[in-house]
């Protein structure tokens, strides 16, 4: 494999993705900022004041890491699924498929684009959060590594969704019926210690719970789950999902006749 060629090609995909994000900033950057501001006002401020504390933190402070993580996850996923499916639908994906770059480069370029948008929106939501509450990062490395790995995981999931999608409806089904429920049930707004024991065990099967809690641990120093388990799950997900993406592209599933 020509490493220099693939490096230039990957940079090109990332640049193209960022140009796209900035070109349609009103669709990519602004909505999550507005949505999260509403979350902070309604759940954090209006309702949160009646809830009191959660795991020793005021409610606004408790939900802030989860809301940041939620925006990172949905934007990473959304960027890759819409960009890759759009390219497939408009057939300009062929520009990449006929080029000599490897399939791994195509995946990495799109994932990097998804991660950058996720982190950009995450940063914006963090700035919004700082208007409502005080956040002091307790474990910077954990915070950064967890948000990065989570973003990669959901970018890869978005890629797989785009590979299988045949129409635009197909790229909204997973976010609506899988991603959003899992995120809401992933401990963004509550500690799972509030749940009955049975539902606590059910919640442990939700991968987003580990991401949200590990990120919350990085910022607040509090978590419902083991950080080691969260890292293990994230790394296993990255490896499995990347391998799946590569296998799909190598076989041409959904992109080659």
């Amino acid at each position: 494999m020509n490493i220099a060629l693939n490096f230039v090609a990957m940079k090109t995909i990332v640049r193209k993705e960022m140009v796209r994000v900035m070109r349609i900033w009103i669709q990519t950057i602004v909505p999550p900022a507005i949505t999260m501001t509403l979350y902070f006002i309604i759940f954090g401020n209006l309702i949160g004041r009646r809830i009191g504390t959660m795991d020793g933190f005021d409610y606004m402070q408790y939900i802030a890491p989860g809301l940041i993580m939620m925006s990172v996850i949905t934007n990473s996923y959304g960027n890759v699924v819409s960009s890759f499916f759009g390219a497939k639908f408009g057939r300009h994906l062929e520009e990449m498929l006929i080029a000599p770059m490897s399939n791994a480069t195509i995946i990495l370029g799109h994932v990097a684009g998804g991660v950058l948008r996720g982190l950009l929106v995450g940063l914006l939501v963090t700035i919004v959060a700082l208007f409502f509450t005080r956040l002091e990062v307790q474990h910077p490395f954990v915070t950064m590594s967890v948000v990065l790995l989570s973003s990669i995981v959901f970018s890869l999931m978005g890629f797989i969704n785009a590979v299988f999608a045949k129409k635009f409806d197909d790229i909204s089904i997973v976010p609506t019926f899988v991603l959003t429920p899992l995120t809401y049930l992933g401990g963004v707004f509550y500690s799972i210690s509030l749940l009955p024991e049975f539902w606590q065990k059910v919640s442990m099967a939700n991968p987003i719970l580990y991401m949200v809690n590990a990120f919350r641990y990085g910022i607040l120093g509090a978590s419902d789950i083991s950080i080691g388990v969260a890292y293990a799950i994230l790394v296993v997900f990255v490896v499995i999902l990347f391998s799946a993406c590569l296998l799909l592209l190598n076989r041409g599933v959904g992109i080659r006749e």
């Binding site: 060629l5 090609a9 090109t12 640049r15 057939r91 520009e95 006929i98 000599p100 080659r256 006749e257």
Partner: protein
């Protein structure tokens, strides 16, 4: 050196449609090669496999000696593709489209910028470089796809109906451009429904029908196989009836237009001698139908048996 070698290439789609039934052909480096056939004959499938957009069922493809099964990266580097359907990102700027394509082939930003300017100027799109692709006319989009295919300066350029829907003036200027890059050393494979285009540009022709190659030869050789030609003569003075000319069949289309059917055993000098002897003055002469088109129709309609008839075999 062979630019392209195809051996026993087969393709059966998931729905059971057999698009290619074991085709064989090769293209010499530097050639201008026409791949012709009716709709659904297998041209686009063959091109899709060569450019790795379609998975083959069987057979081998080599591009400048690089087998696509074992050396795909090198094979891809040699190819530039202008597909049949517009596959541009219509929301992307013209300049960005070419720059991105250059990046996908590993060209650094500086070289990519130079090449982008070179080919956008060559294809008369430089003034539209900041516009979105969707704002371009159909002909401009076709030219943009050619610029995109050339930005990494491939050794083999494949054009799948590049002039479809393009007006005559633009088409002619595209022909001129393609001739120039071919003369500069780029091997070109062209599919087109404008057979005049193939006859004018290409030195070699293959005709594919129902997934099988039914003709593959030099253009001049193929055209020689066409035994009869029909000419239309414009006359200076009107005639009352078609003249009887030895060796020719004549029909009067109207007072001043004579149609002459010419066999292989006579030449045009005979025709003019006989017309001269009868005091018939010819103002101009033209082929009734494009020669390649006529041959193409006979081949496709009659397949192998018909071809023997045409060739007199």
């Amino acid at each position: 050196m062979q630019a392209l070698t195809i051996r026993n290439l087969t393709k059966t789609y998931a729905n059971g449609n057999v698009a290619l039934k074991g085709i064989n052909f090769s293209v010499d480096a530097g050639d201008f090669y026409a791949l012709l056939g009716p709709n659904g004959a297998g041209k686009t499938t063959a091109i899709g496999i060569i450019s790795s957009l379609v998975n083959k069922t069987g057979g081998e493809v080599e591009i400048f000696g690089h087998n696509i099964d074992t050396d795909l990266e090198a094979a891809k580097t040699c190819i530039g593709l202008v597909p049949q359907e517009v596959n541009l990102n219509l929301w992307e700027g013209v300049h960005n489209i070419i720059m991105n394509q250059a990046g996908y082939y590993g060209l650094g930003r500086k070289l990519a910028g130079e090449r982008t300017e070179k080919y956008l100027r060559a294809l008369r799109l430089w003034d539209r470089r900041n516009d979105n692709a969707r704002s371009l006319s159909g002909g401009m989009k076709r030219r943009l796809m050619i610029a995109r295919a050339l930005v990494h300066e491939p050794k083999l350029l494949i054009l799948d109906e590049p002039t479809a829907g393009v007006d005559i003036e633009i088409r002619r200027s595209m022909w001129e451009f393609l001739r120039e890059i071919n003369e500069a050393g780029t091997t070109i494979i062209l599919t087109t429904h404008y057979l005049e285009e193939a006859e004018s540009l290409c030195r070699h022709v293959a005709i594919i029908d129902e997934g099988t190659i039914i003709e593959d030869a030099r253009m001049s050789t193929v055209l020689r196989k066409l035994q009869r030609e029909v000419f239309v003569l414009s006359l200076a003075k009107p005639l009352e009836a078609a003249p009887q000319l030895e060796g020719f069949e004549t029909t009067l289309r109207d007072d001043c237009e004579l149609e002459v059917d010419k066999g292989p055993e006579v030449n045009l000098n005979d025709l003019f001698s006989q017309l001269d002897a009868r005091g018939i003055e010819v103002v101009s002469l033209r082929n009734k139908a494009n020669r390649l088109e006529e041959l193409f129709m006979r081949l496709v309609e009659n397949k192998q048996d018909g071809f023997k008839e045409v060739a007199g075999a």
